[in-house]
């Protein structure tokens, strides 16, 4: 009898500690995830109570949907450029700040600052900068690139998004690289200095191999972040001109809610997730293979 009571008591604590989390996670995460896959095989419009299972038709349709693949290509190329720029800048900042510099914490705080601005506010803030500040600056200095009519050409919308995401991501990634630099034992570089290695040799042969875990992580964060763009997309370019600067999420959203094709939208989002997971898997495979351990 005693042991039954003990098991019951133990069960009760499992319930208290894990119950709420498991319940909520199942209802609002696991079931919607399974539901998304399920609906992707139906022709549900999201309004009626009935729908049919139409097999892989939604997927076949997605593969022939030019607008979707244009959005995909836009998102991937925008993501690639933003990831490269923000990581390069972040790495340089972290490198400079890894050595003794006056007011170190002040620089770190200011560089991180853009990260606290997010969502649609980020997009609107920059729309002002592009459409007003850039234009006035371009007219004053006669640099036509700045004075162009922003968001009226596909290129300008594309580069605008790259600039905004580089701005907002670099400071955040800088902090992660800084943590990576701090974890490198100081003796390594000191020994190399004693042996007469130049700064560049130390960077290439000691720092970069040692900081590879941070590179893996920063690339992962930056890829995910940029691939999932939505709020800044609708607020900054809103797809202009002619839906050419539309990210994949915008495309899915429009399919599911503007044209009421929940099933079709679900299929699109399943393909999108698969592509993101594939890209990040390849990235983690490539960069983590180069990680070294002491």
């Amino acid at each position: 009898m005693k042991s039954v009571e003990k098991t019951l008591k133990q069960f009760q604590y499992y319930f208290i500690f894990m119950g709420p989390a498991i319940l909520l996670f199942t209802i609002l995460f696991i079931i919607p995830f399974i539901g998304e896959i399920y609906y992707s095989f139906t022709n549900w419009n999201g309004i009626d109570n009935f729908y049919e299972i139409i097999g892989i038709n939604n997927y076949l349709r997605t593969f022939q949907d030019d607008a979707y693949w244009r959005a995909m290509w836009f998102t991937i190329s925008f993501s690639a450029l933003s990831v490269i720029f923000s990581n390069l800048i972040a790495f340089c900042w972290a490198y400079i700040l890894s050595k003794p510099v006056p007011f170190r914490n002040f620089w770190r705080a200011i560089i991180f600052l853009p990260r606290i601005i997010g969502g649609v506010v980020l997009g609107y803030l920059w729309r002002f900068i592009f459409q007003n500040a850039f234009v006035q600056f371009g007219e004053a200095t006669n640099i036509s690139w700045f004075a162009q009519n922003w968001f009226s050409t596909p290129e300008s919308s594309f580069y605008a998004l790259v600039i905004v995401f580089t701005w907002t991501l670099s400071g955040y990634l800088m902090l992660i690289y800084s943590a990576g630099f701090a974890a490198i034992p100081g003796e390594l570089s000191e020994a190399a200095v004693v042996d007469g290695a130049s700064s560049f040799q130390i960077l290439k042969n000691i720092i970069i191999p040692m900081i590879m875990p941070s590179i893996t992580q920063c690339l992962f964060i930056a890829i995910n972040w940029t691939m999932l763009l939505y709020d800044t997309n609708i607020s900054l370019t809103n797809g202009n001109p002619y839906r050419s600067s539309e990210g994949v999420t915008m495309n899915i959203y429009a399919t599911a809610y503007r044209t009421n094709q929940i099933g079709y939208g679900a299929a699109k989002s399943c393909i999108f997730i698969l592509i993101i997971v594939a890209i990040t898997m390849v990235q983690i495979y490539i960069t983590s293979r180069r990680e070294v351990e002491l």
């Binding site: 079931i31 050595k99 002002f128 999932l228 709020d231």
Partner: protein
Amino acid sequence: MKRSENLRIGFSLLILIISVTIVIIPLVLVVINSFKPYSEIAENISALPKEFTLRNYQQAWKRLNFPTVFKNTLFIAVFSNIGSIIFAGMTGYWIVRHPCRFTKVWYLLIIAGMSVPFQGIMITFAKMAGFLKITNHLYGAVISNWVFSMPMSMFLTAGAVKSVPYDIEESARIDGCGPLRTYWIIVFPLIKGTVFTIASLNIITYWNDYLMTQFLLTKKGLRTIQIAMQSLFNEAFFAWDTALGAISLSMLPLFLFFIFAQKQVLDGVAAGAVKG
């Protein structure tokens, strides 16, 4: 040696000053121009206000319905965080301290949630929210935030619990201390540092969320700052002067938060980096 060191510091400072200037210019321009009437903005963006005005802020305050949207956003951010601390912490703790098949499976399931972005479940999530009738209630957004921040928060707190020596809990248990008291009185104070750094990062995420919130809160009185900004920019009579007041106003709360919690936020990123 000394000279090259000075040269390096000088060069570093130069690069940092240039970088910081570029980073901060957009923010400074928005703030400066938010105090100008539109004619002055159109004339010269980089000039300081000649005719200092608070009209833009008054307009923005009224059109955003700022007191209400601020209250809503704050409510969501605060209660999302409290719940996230309680649930992610307790679950993470129990999973670490009671390794068995059941806890391991759930640990993996929740962690796997990190690789499924909201975009992957949003359509069915919105239907589910409608079905559960949690739309158009602030607590609906709060509960959803608990769920979507759970993978990361639980992962980090589980990591923190692992570094707490088990002996302390063991002796507490022998002294007749139940699991709940053990967690809250002994373990929680020891992992408090990690918990608060996660919390200060989560605040930024909750505060800036748009995509999920717009599925849940559609009633006018329940708008968050982000939703109100979006509808302000979609309204007719759009003018940059009021818009700039609105942008500055909506950035201000998090900016103040960042000034006070700077250390936690910056450490939080680093902590997440080392453990992630």
